[in-house]
Each structure stands twice: as structure tokens, then as C-alpha cells.
């Protein structure tokens, strides 16, 4: 018993952290969503949210996030898979992670130059006789840059789950006559689904709330929920409306978490069996 008590003393800062920085902020956001500009109680913010302006914004935000996640997954899964086959896989993985250490703003800034009217992509296109294209400030550039930024965060969890996969399972599947596609779809993918889910979580939710890339690359053309919140908080100074959008973002987040939630029991028992 004494043992338990002393341990819990050291974990006190952690539980205080949960109270102060997890529970309190959510409560505050919920509270502010019922306040108007002068601090009086109101339901107007919620009424506003259900007007076509905000509903359209939500839908388009979801659509962009979906596309970004989809492309990240399509590119990341084979990358993670091939990485596990390399000789010095930890070193290669490290090389994948390094770009994510370079400040995100710097990488975004690079694309302002690359996609610019007289940038290298346009220079390359001109070799084939294609005239100058406006690449910057389009949906394509927005999605491309977002995928570029998020890819390491998708690769990492998938790599980890692939790496944990017992290779004898693949051998067994092949010995029993399964084709490579069957092996992949019936053995490898289901066993690494937790990594995929973790990756989807790590990409989809941030994509909903991107605001820096929308400003720099999409030139205010793409407005996500994140852009709207930033606008309300820092430009319009309407914290009430901003909080209302944030409440909905949190609700969406919880739904996504439930959908992509990992069944812990299955995961740990698998780990232990190995």
C-alpha cells in the first residue's frame, strides 16, 4: 500500500496537467461558445453555425481533409512497407523523420518559390511547351503541400506496426499458397490496421484545422475550420463564435477518434503473444 502512495505522489503533476490543460480548456471553450461579443449568454453562435455559410465551410473542410489523408495513406503505406525491407531500416526511417524536424513553416515557404510563376515547376513545364501555369493559390498546391507536410506522420505509425509484424505469419501465408495480394489484404493489412488508424488520426484531424498553409499556399481561397477559428479569435476578436466552431471541431474529433479507436485488448494481447 505504501508503495502505491509514494508512486502516486510523483504522478501528481501529470494528473494536475490533465485537469488544467485537458479538462479545463475544453470546459472553457464550451463556456465561451455560449457568450456573445459583450459576454452575455446567447445561443446565437450555434444558430449562426447552422447557416449555409458555416455548413459549406465544414463540408469543404472535411473534403480537403479526406483528400489529404487519402493521398498520404496511398503514398505512406508502400513507403513504410518497403522501409521495413531495407537493410538499415532504422537509419532509413530516421532519414524519413529528418524532414519533419525542419520547421513546417520553412517547408511551406519553399513551395511558395517552387510553385511560383517563374519557379522551377513552371520552368520545367515550359520545356514541354506548356505556358506558365498558376499553381500557387490552387486546390492542387494546397493538397500537395499538406500531404508533403503530413507524410512522415503517416509513415511512422504504419512502419511501427509493420515492423512488429511477425514475419513467420507472412511466410506461413505464402507457404499455404496465398498470392502476394491475398497475403497483403488478408494478413499484412489487417494486422497493421492499428498503425493505419493511428496515421489517419495523425493526419485527418490536423488537416481539418490547417490555417497557416491555407494562408500562405492557398491564398485565402481555401477556408478550413481552422482558418475560421483563427479568424474569429485573432482578427474579428469574436471569441464566442470562434469557440462555437471549436466545439464542433472537438465533436468531429471525438467521432473520428471513436471510428479510428484502437481496440487495446487485441493490440496488447497480440504483442504479448509474440
Amino acid at each position: 500500500m505504501q508503495n502505491k502512495n509514494s508512486k502516486s505522489i510523483y504522478s501528481v503533476p501529470y494528473f494536475v496537467w490533465i485537469l488544467l490543460f485537458v479538462i479545463a480548456p475544453i470546459a472553457l471553450i464550451a463556456y465561451y461558445s455560449f457568450l456573445d461579443l459583450s459576454g452575455n449568454f446567447t445561443l446565437d453562435n450555434y444558430k449562426n453555425f447552422f447557416t449555409s455559410v458555416y455548413l459549406k465551410l465544414t463540408l469543404s473542410s472535411f473534403w480537403y481533409a479526406f483528400l489529404i489523408t487519402l493521398f498520404s495513406l496511398i503514398i505512406a503505406y508502400p513507403t513504410a512497407y518497403f522501409l521495413t525491407k531495407t537493410k538499415h531500416k532504422q537509419l532509413w526511417l530516421l532519414l524519413i523523420i529528418i524532414p519533419s524536424w525542419i520547421n513546417l513553416l520553412l517547408k511551406t515557404y519553399a513551395f511558395i518559390g517552387i510553385f511560383g510563376l517563374s519557379g522551377p515547376i513552371n520552368a520545367f513545364l515550359q520545356v514541354f511547351g506548356i505556358s506558365e501555369q498558376q499553381i500557387l493559390f490552387t486546390d492542387f498546391s494546397f493538397i500537395f503541400v499538406s500531404v508533403y507536410i503530413f507524410i512522415p506522420f503517416m509513415i511512422l505509425p504504419i512502419f511501427n506496426s509493420l515492423d512488429k509484424l511477425n514475419p513467420s505469419l507472412i511466410d506461413a501465408s505464402q507457404d499455404l499458397g496465398a498470392s502476394s495480394w491475398t497475403t497483403f489484404s488478408k494478413v499484412i493489412f489487417p494486422l497493421t490496421i492499428n498503425g493505419v488508424k493511428a496515421g489517419v488520426q495523425a493526419v485527418f484531424i490536423p488537416s481539418l484545422s490547417l490555417f497557416m498553409i491555407t494562408r500562405l499556399i492557398a491564398g485565402n481561397k481555401v477556408i478550413t475550420l481552422g482558418t475560421a477559428i483563427e479568424q474569429q479569435f485573432l482578427v474579428t476578436q469574436n471569441w464566442g463564435m470562434g469557440s462555437t466552431i471549436a466545439v464542433f471541431l472537438i465533436i468531429f474529433m471525438v467521432i473520428i477518434m471513436i471510428i479510428t479507436g484502437q481496440r487495446e485488448k487485441g493490440a496488447t494481447s497480440y504483442g504479448k503473444n509474440k
Binding site: K7, Y14, V22, K85, A110, I205, G242
Partner: protein, 267 residues
């Protein structure tokens, strides 16, 4: 088998090229004496000189590093003890709800974290600036440390602790000589992840930083909104070299540490 591995190599090479091209593109033009990122005129160091003569920029750089190191360190300490607290929790449903709460900040959109922290700091009267930025960075780094340490703790055989206790180890001994060495790889990864989170963060800092205090991300954002400045390119060059050195150091440390630990884990 041969064919797929060749295809795999090409695919990987392509991914690596795309991942690194923008960074090398920025670094290449940091040596451009012309003021643009389009045509390379001639080689120059002037943009690097501009970075080092800009004391404001240097201060921002130092601030960013201090915030990252401090927040990662504090978050690691709090997170490791948090993970220990979770693992030794008897009540299963309480444990899983704590774990869900732990993950809230990881999956929360940056903007929501930033906005809610802004409300929090204004309410309890924390002045926006260094303190608010540091506290926010600690706050959003703690859960990732917990997540990195927890699997290691669960992997650990509880009879190790029983054996140590039976052999007369004190609680402090058990912690410092049995538990900590076993979960050390997790702690390292957690620390570096926290460091990455802090260095990479833009959105949260953007919300909770006041007028007086800026980190690199926020500064680059305002610079980039104003247009192309090759000073940013030079900055990228410096950051890239430093990152590379850190990573190489980290790799060698983790490789050296791996052999004895690896033997223990793999049984």
C-alpha cells in the same frame, strides 16, 4: 522477389527525393546573390552574414531552442511519472479513461489547443509571452511522452520488480535501477518527439504568444507573408545542418545503447 525489390528501391528513392527536394531547393538559393528563388546568379555568403548580423533573429533562434529544450525536458519528467502512475493503476476503467484524456491533446487540432489555451491564460492571468509559450509547449508534449513510455512499461515483466523487491531493493532502487533502465529507449524517443513537437509548432504558439515574444515559426510566418527573403533560406541552411548533426548524434547514442537493451528485450 528481385523485381519487387528493385521497384521498392525506385519508389523509396522517389519518396526521398520529394521529401528532400524542397529543403535542398531552399538551401541552394540561400547562396544566390540575386534576390530571388528563380535564377541562380552567383555564389555568395551574404544571406548567412545577414542572419548572423541580425541580433533580433538570433535572439528568436535562441528563444526557440530554449523553449524546445526546457519544454521537452519538463514534459519528459512529468510524462514518465504519469505513465508510471497509469501502469500501476488498479482500476481498469479509470485507467482507460485517463488514457483517453491523455490522448485528447494529441488528436486535438492545434487551433483548438491554441484558442483554448489563450482563453485559459487570459482567465488565470498568465501574461502572454515566454511563460505562456513554454507552458503550452510542455502541455502539448506530455501526452506524446506518455505514449512513448507506456508500451515499454507494459512490455516489462512485473516479476522483474518483484525479484528486485525480494532481493531487498528499495523503491528508489527499483525505479532508478530496474524500471528506468528498462524504459530508457522509450524515454529517449519521447524526449525527442517532444523536442520535435516544440520546434515544429506554429499554431499554438501563434495564439498564445504576445507582442514581445516570438519563436522562429511565428517569425518565419510573418516574413513569408511579406514575400520572399533569402534570409529565410540561409536560416534553413543553418537549421538543416544543426538538425543533421543532432540526428547523427542521436543515432549513434541509440545504436550504442541498443545492444545491451536489445538483448534484454528480445529474450
Amino acid at each position: 522477389m528481385e523485381k519487387t525489390s528493385k521497384l521498392a528501391k525506385i519508389y523509396l528513392a522517389l519518396v526521398f527525393i520529394i521529401l528532400y527536394a524542397p529543403i535542398f531547393y531552399l538551401i541552394l538559393y540561400s547562396f544566390n546573390s540575386g534576390g530571388t528563388m528563380n535564377s541562380f546568379d552567383s555564389f555568395t555568403w551574404e544571406h548567412y552574414a545577414a542572419v548572423f548580423s541580425d541580433t533580433r533573429l538570433i535572439m528568436i533562434l535562441i528563444n526557440t531552442v530554449i523553449v524546445a529544450l526546457l519544454s521537452a525536458l519538463i514534459a519528459t519528467i512529468i510524462g514518465v511519472f504519469g505513465a508510471l502512475g497509469i501502469v500501476f493503476m488498479r482500476n481498469k476503467s479509470l485507467r482507460s479513461s485517463i488514457l483517453s484524456l491523455n490522448n485528447v491533446l494529441i488528436v486535438s487540432p492545434d487551433v483548438v489547443i491554441g484558442a483554448s489555451f489563450l482563453i485559459l491564460f487570459t482567465m488565470i492571468g498568465v501574461k502572454l509571452g515566454f511563460a505562456s509559450v513554454l507552458i503550452s509547449h510542455i502541455a502539448f508534449s506530455i501526452p506524446i511522452v506518455v505514449l512513448m513510455v507506456l508500451p515499454k512499461l507494459q512490455e516489462m515483466n512485473s516479476s522483474l520488480i518483484d525479484a528486485a523487491a525480494d532481493l531487498g531493493a528499495t523503491r528508489k532502487d527499483i525505479l532508478t535501477r530496474v524500471i528506468i533502465p528498462f524504459i530508457k529507449p522509450g524515454i529517449f524517443v519521447g524526449f525527442f518527439m517532444a523536442l520535435t513537437y516544440s520546434l515544429d509548432d506554429f499554431a499554438v504558439t501563434f495564439f498564445v504568444t504576445g507582442n514581445g515574444f516570438t519563436t522562429l515559426s511565428v517569425e518565419i510566418y510573418s516574413m513569408a507573408r511579406a514575400g520572399i527573403t533569402l534570409t529565410i533560406n540561409a536560416l534553413t541552411g543553418i537549421i538543416f545542418v544543426v538538425t543533421l548533426l543532432l540526428v547523427i548524434g542521436y543515432y549513434f547514442i541509440s545504436q550504442r545503447g541498443k545492444k545491451p537493451v536489445g538483448l534484454g528485450v528480445r529474450k
